[in-house]
């Protein structure tokens, strides 16, 4: 089996790769979003802490 045949998926390439591609895309986006939320939450607390110190 060569790679061309593999990606063609017997004529169903669009459907098969469309499925797996969307799942991969969603996982990547979700991972980016949860990390972003984490960074934001920690940053917010740091700002509050430093603001408290200044008083």
């Amino acid at each position: 089996m060569n790679w061309g045949e593999f990606f063609a998926m017997g004529g169903y390439g669009l459907y098969v790769w469309g499925s797996y591609g969307m799942v991969l895309f969603i996982f990547i986006v979700e991972i980016i979003l949860v990390r972003h939320r984490r960074t934001n939450a920690v940053e917010q607390l740091r700002l509050m802490r430093n603001a408290g110190k200044g008083e």
């Binding site: 004529g11 169903y12 098969v16 969307m22 939450a41 920690v42």
Partner: protein
């Protein structure tokens, strides 16, 4: 030995514990994805009736199972929060909702891409598909309701009620293929056994385990952020190493 079960229901203890646990879910998940997809694409044989298109099963079935299972776990945590008034349970429910919604969406998406070549339609208003769409709306409704109420504890209670009532939909999805005439096929893998080829089973169960671990890992990371956001006025949060530096 007396174990204090409520110890880990305190956000501060849970936050530290979970931080250590995340990699133990994330890495096995990545490995199982690789293994499952390798078997699914390079080992499992071509299906006699569906050709190569059947390979969508290795992702469609796992994400669909997870979309239903996550809902029940979410509703369970929401109910615990409502009954015992434990705010961490409610935070867990909130952390699971976005992941569950994404799994429901992936189930519908991969199903549409499988339905088109096999049934000739992206979508039909059939019992299985419609009830899965309702599941997606229940997740979105849970998140929208929670976001719409300013006081987080009140939001927890209102959203919990929605989640609990909505859990009726999960058995409806599960049994829909038996209760109604539907285009969607019944389960191939049953508790009593399966006619599925062993390589196909291995691929599907590996991806199922991978999705399961992924959902746990990503929800735990999210719940840690939710804890920080909602506990921002407490002393222990300001004393965390990551905040102090």
């Amino acid at each position: 030995m007396a174990i204090n079960w409520f110890k880990y229901s305190s956000p501060s203890t849970f936050y530290g514990l979970v931080g250590k646990l995340v990699p133990w879910f994330a890495w096995p998940s990545a490995i199982l994805f690789a293994v499952g997809l390798y078997i699914g694409f390079f080992v499992a044989p071509t299906d006699v009736t569906q050709g190569e298109a059947y390979r969508i099963i290795f992702i469609h079935v796992p994400v669909s199972i997870l979309s239903m299972f996550i809902y029940l776990v979410m509703a369970g945590y929401a109910a615990l929060g409502l009954i015992f008034n434990t705010r961490l349970s409610s935070m867990m429910a909130s952390a699971l909702a976005p992941t569950g919604a994404l799994f429901a969406f992936m189930s519908l998406w991969t199903g549409a891409l499988w339905g088109k070549p096999m049934w000739g339609a992206w979508w039909v208003w059939d019992a299985r598909l419609t009830s899965e769409l309702v599941l997606l709306f229940l997740y979105l409704g849970f998140m929208a309701l929670h976001a719409a109420i300013d006081d987080p504890r009140r939001a927890d209670r209102a959203a919990a009620l929605l989640a609990i009532v909505g859990s009726v939909n999960v058995p409806i999805i599960y049994f829909s293929v038996q209760w109604w005439n539907t285009l969607h096929q019944g389960s191939t893998v049953k508790f009593s056994g399966t006619s599925m080829h062993v390589d196909m089973q291995q691929a599907m169960f590996s991806v199922l385990a991978a999705c399961w671990l992924y959902a746990i890992a990503v929800s735990l990371v999210r719940v840690r952020s939710i804890i920080l956001e909602r506990e921002r006025n407490t002393q222990w949060v300001t004393e965390l190493a990551e905040v102090k530096q």
